[in-house]
Symmetry: C2
Subunit: 310 residues, 2 copies
């Protein structure tokens, strides 16, 4: 399995676990596909499935997910705070091991062609797979969401999909397919329901608005707990680390008399990102990688040693 | 290598790297011994070697270290801020994998017998290997250090060693050998050189003085940087986590107008201890173990997948 990819489709369904289960089963019906994580959010009404797969079978596994989603998710009935254009809102491929980014782009194109041809869902290619600078940024593709795109795609040539026709699928809408480097999806919750405060704070950390270069942020109102959620993608945690963004949000929030209640990671994150946060707050003199017992055991070929604790 | 132990001898030498190198070579002359970490501290004038070894050869590997230390380290010439009673001040065994604590105790006894018989260094058994409640606590054994013990061992029957005679080795002094669970050696540095503040803060977190149950703490003056070091053993990081102790030190320090400058881990620490700190400070809703990409890959048998980053 030298040629592996990670695939992280986002579905506009977070309240019917049985549908997500059916989609997951469709993915794993493909031999080499292994699901790493399923994250469903009721408020977003959205689920993120993280799976990895042999490069040769990745398009098939993702296509199977589209097929089930197309049958069961109706955007006309969908409500949730997260912007979306389709039943499978977005489907990125991330190269692993020896897979290259251009191979991940090829997978996006192959999947895009098939989704448009067989399921009649128009496809926009984004990030590394984008064919225009405009479409590198997913936010541009998603602007206006399903409800507006349904009309504008018919007459606005800037909305013409990369695959498929100028007409959304009646229930499954459209979809964005792309290739990108790994990112961390990180949400921070504030003890306010004032959306204007949320928007200001999201703006303060967003690279596009003068914030941190590798942060994309939106603010959502989470009615179930009367909190504002700053929902982020950290696209390079080495250059813009989690703790720095978190501290800036804390500081900006306190300016409005608001406090950070909690945070969450959507899907999975590299262990190093969390270790770096531990080391930052503990003001550790050393490189945290140099003090980890398990890492040292691995280095000397003893990765399987278990350390008993009380 | 089902029956493994970890051994963490502490040597009263932190300024002559060539001596520590010679000791390390003596340890690894034993086939199954693998050194995981060497931590030398000039101010403590002390080095900690962490090695793991097949249970059958652990006594031999540790004994080789004692032999070199006995030849090269003279306690009469030794100065450093950390309390010590001998060239090898302390030598704990920690059971790994299928090794039991009682087997680790047997190793302490076998090593103690040999060090006393062949090198004429009196041996005190401590922690799980201790033969009296008093000696469970290393601090009791070390009280008065080399200089006082040299005299008191001759007439004070409470100082009679568990192996060897009532007479310290003229240069190598005495030694404490024991068996224990893993611990984290954690030092916090304060921007003051006022030892009385250091002592108060060390007292505030020490289990023996009303602080946290699984913390042992001392305060040292680090002249090289005019700082006070709170030097700790965290004997159960699950029950008394690093971040809680660190935050208490910060809070107590601020009461004296003093700040925490930095911290360090001596030797190695379980990765979980640092991840827990990251999750605490980021106020993560989830169990941090559930969001780690590498852990999830390991769970599905794909531990060797590499994730490229920019």
């Amino acid at each position: 399995m030298d040629k592996l990819v990670e695939c992280i489709p986002n579905f506009s369904e977070g309240r019917r676990p049985e549908i997500i289960r059916t989609i997951a089963d469709a993915i794993t019906s493909v031999e080499s596909a292994v699901i790493l994580d399923i994250h469903s959010d009721r408020d977003h009404n959205r689920s993120v499935i993280t799976f990895i797969c042999d490069k040769q079978q990745a398009v098939e596994a993702a296509y199977q997910a589209y097929k089930v989603a197309e049958r069961h998710i109706d955007l006309n009935q969908h409500e949730g705070v997260h912007p979306r254009i389709g039943a499978v809102d977005v489907c990125p491929f991330v190269p692993l091991n020896k897979t290259t980014m251009s191979e991940a782009v090829e997978l996006s194109e192959a999947l895009g062609q098939r989704v448009a041809d067989e399921l009649h869902i128009p496809v926009y290619l984004y990030e590394q797979a984008a064919r225009t600078t405009e479409r590198k940024n997913l936010a541009n593709i998603r602007r206006g969401q399903f409800e507006e795109l349904r009309d504008s795609v018919k007459y606005d040539t800037s909305k013409t999909p990369d695959f498929g026709h100028n007409k959304l699928h009646p229930t499954a809408g459209a979809t964005a397919i792309g290739a990108r480097m790994p990112l961390i999806a990180f949400n921070v919750f504030l003890n306010t329901n004032d959306k204007s405060i949320g928007r200001k704070i999201a703006g303060a950390v967003s690279g596009s608005k003068g914030g941190y270069r590798y942060v994309k942020a939106l603010a959502f109102e989470i009615k179930s707990c009367s909190q504002i959620q700053v929902s982020m993608n950290l696209t390079d945690y080495r250059q813009t680390p989690i703790y720095r963004v978190f501290e800036t949000i804390k500081s900006e929030a306190s300016r409005y008399g608001v406090e950070v209640v909690s945070s969450e990671i959507v899907g999975l994150a590299p262990t190093a990102a969390l270790l770096d946060s531990g080391a930052f707050y503990l003001r550790l003199k050393q490189d945290v990688r140099d003090v980890l017992l398990e890492e040292r055991l691995k280095l000397v070929g003893l990765g399987e040693v278990t350390i008993s604790t009380r």
